[in-house]
């Protein structure tokens, strides 16, 4: 079976040739969870693309729909209760959501791989790490046990796990948190995917280990030219690595910009508040700003701009009309009625 070519239907023509075409285009993605407590709109109209070798950070508070977006892209949503109700996910032009599960499966690991937050629970406790890395080669490439093990050792070396040859038969619980996350990275890396989605890969780790793991991801990405989607709720973590940042709030994308632009001058009040909440060296001793209020209940998202109950600039229009994700000069986007005023700082706090 040829693993390199993936069949596509006529209306699903891949873009060939153009090396700068996006590897991933997510368009108007909607995901809802139908539960006993009602329908939670976890993702509403999310749109973005990812260029080859690019790093996109998806930023947002807990519950803003970051993981659900990632799961929908991977096709690993819990269904039921989760359903993609609208939108498309195109990998090199192919709408992978439209594919039957059997074909879709071959994109996982092979084209798009994922790293999860908690490496301890995300690795199977009863198999050795070598087995779990090697499984990729055995299942996707039909490799023998021995070859798979050799590959596993190579990968463990590549993610800088010391004494890989000796440790290949060890079990996940015998490794430290940072090393376990490196094993998850090794699994994700194994088939040279075009995209890696890392869902809060460092949140569960110590600060020093966090930096090492982030550095490893950045290095690996530079080597292999893969696209990286980095999900986090910590603006500080992504500052150096992300090319562009998408900010999510209550299931919507509310701002999108190149990292530097977003840091230096946010075009959305929510982003502005997030930035103000980062501890900064030059503000040592001053009180840290936190965003007042709580994120909305996704079964009952406020009408108009979902952020309006917490927004210091909210006007009456904000609770009536949902601001669209408008194009803002400088290749960026913002979903705020007053993005111009936010950008030039002319808004008054009520």
């Amino acid at each position: 079976m040829s693993q390199d070519t993936i069949n596509t239907t006529a209306d699903n023509r891949p873009h060939d040739g153009d090396p700068n075409a996006p590897v991933l285009e997510v368009e108007n993605l909607h995901v809802e969870f139908r539960t006993r407590d009602g329908v939670a709109k976890a993702v509403t109209g999310v749109t973005f693309d990812l260029l080859p070798g690019e790093t996109l950070a998806i930023l947002g508070e807990s519950g803003s729909g970051k993981s659900v977006t990632a799961q929908a892209i991977m096709g690993i949503l819990d269904t039921p209760p989760g359903f993609v109700t609208q939108g498309s996910v195109r990998f090199r032009g192919v709408d992978i959501q439209a594919l039957p599960e059997k074909e879709r499966r071959r994109y996982r690991g092979e084209k798009i791989a994922m790293i999860f937050q908690d490496a301890l629970s995300s690795l199977n406790p009863v198999y050795s790490v070598g087995y779990q890395i090697g499984e990729m080669f055995r299942v996707h490439r039909g490799a023998s046990r021995a070859d798979a093990k050799t590959k596993a050792i190579e990968l463990m070396d590549r993610v800088h796990i010391p004494a890989a040859r000796q440790r290949v038969n060890d079990y996940p619980h015998q490794f430290s948190g940072g090393m376990r996350q490196r094993i998850m990275i090794a699994i994700a890396l194994s088939l040279d995917p075009d995209i890696i989605i890392a869902d809060e890969p460092t949140t569960a780790l110590d600060v020093t280990v966090q930096a090492q793991v982030m550095q490893l991801l950045a290095d690996l990405q530079a080597e292999s030219k893969m696209g990286l989607i980095l999900i986090t709720h910590d603006l500080g973590v992504v500052a150096d690595v992300a090319d562009k940042i998408s900010v999510m709030y209550a299931g919507r994308l509310i701002e999108q910009a190149r990292s530097l632009d977003l840091y230096s001058n946010p075009a959305h009040p929510y982003t502005e508040r997030l930035l103000a909440a980062i501890p900064r060296v030059d503000m040592k001793g001053q009180e840290l700003y936190t965003i007042k209020g709580i994120p909305p209940n996704l079964t009952d998202i406020p009408a108009g701009c979902a952020f309006h109950p917490r927004c210091p600039y909210a006007q009456s229009i904000c609770s009536e009309k949902t601001p669209p994700l408008e194009v803002v000069p400088g290749d960026r986007r913002s979903a705020c009625h007053f993005w111009k005023e936010v950008l030039d700082g002319s808004l008054q706090i009520r």
Binding site: R105, A113, S121, L123, N124, P125, V126, I187
Partner: protein
């Protein structure tokens, strides 16, 4: 690992002696005069009675009797029945039959219980799952002898699919129906246990990882989900072997099987201490050995468990 096994084997020694002494104490404390049973209506003449007393240590203190008995066991001398047959022979007839019966029941439990439990867990809340839950609840709540008589009547007598009673040789095919009866209750527990365990694990992060790795559904279920879900099931199965061996009394009575249960039942009725104690001693050993095996298997199934 080696030291752990050794320590467990050493631990078995006091458990073994404790359990056997307890049985000895209880059996000898049973009402009735063993001599009266042995000599029957007419009674024995005094010299025979004395000889019997000496042979069976009747009337001597309990610890002496226990000591003499244990001394015999070490040389595989389990004593004699009241009808002067070596207990070893009696057990040699009974145990193979019960082992066949228990093995069949065990195989039925595993090969029906685990797959059905797995499917129920995968289809949680659906019709199949509800049927399994209801069916197993019924089985668990109906006494085993009722199930046994019903199956014997319908499957054996009415439909004629099976022989309603088992002949003296107790060949494998005749033991099938009794094995189903013997296994039903454990089968129901295993289905439920597997189902619960699958339901618990199905949303585990590592299962999600397996899906995200692009593994085929079948592999996700069998290699990742089922393997982890079986850990509690294996524990139950291990304890169940002992129960199957010793707990076949009712089933063996219904189907007239001359196995351990039947023999034990008769021995108890007669107050035949050597037979009772010997059978129980063997059952205790079986139980202890399987417990150890399960513990070792546990470590193989779950590497997080390390024996120090």
């Amino acid at each position: 690992m080696g030291t752990y096994v050794l320590r467990r084997l050493l631990q078995m020694i006091p458990v073994f002696f404790g359990a056997t002494f307890l049985i000895f104490y209880l059996v000898l404390g049973m009402p009735g005069d063993p001599l009266a049973v042995m000599c029957g209506e007419r009674g024995c003449d005094p010299s025979t009675a004395n000889a019997l007393r000496a042979q069976f240590h009747i009337g001597e203190p309990l610890y002496v009797q226990y000591f003499e008995y244990m001394k015999g066991i070490l040389t595989l001398d389990f004593g004699e029945t009241f009808s002067r047959r070596p207990v070893l022979d009696v057990m040699g007839d009974a145990f193979p039959i019960t082992i066949r019966l228990a093995t069949l029941a065990f195989i039925i439990e595993i090969f029906i219980g685990v797959p059905l439990g797995l499917v129920a867990g995968l289809r949680r809340g659906k019709f199949f799952d509800s049927s399994i839950l209801l069916g197993t609840l019924l089985i668990i709540s109906i006494p085993i002898f009722v199930i046994g008589f019903l199956m014997q009547y319908f499957l054996g007598l009415k439909l004629g699919w099976f022989r309603p009673t088992v002949s003296g040789e107790a060949p494998w095919n005749e033991l099938l129906l009794p094995a189903i009866v013997l296994g039903t209750v454990s089968l129901a527990y295993i289905m439920r246990l597997t189902r619960t365990s699958v339901v618990e694990n199905i949303h585990a992060d590592y299962v999600r990882t397996a899906v995200a790795k692009g593994l085929p559904h079948r592999r996700v279920v069998t290699v990742h989900l089922l393997r982890n879900s079986l850990i509690p099931v294996v524990t139950y199965l291990g304890a169940d072997i002992g129960a199957l061996m010793g707990g076949a009394i009712v089933t063996e009575r219904i189907f007239n099987i001359k196995g351990v249960g039947g023999t034990l039942y008769q021995a108890i009725n007669r107050g035949e201490a050597p037979t009772i104690v010997s059978i129980v001693v063997i059952l205790v050993i079986v139980y202890l050995v399987f417990n150890l095996l399960v513990d070792l298997l546990y470590a193989v199934l779950d590497p997080r468990i390390r024996y120090a």
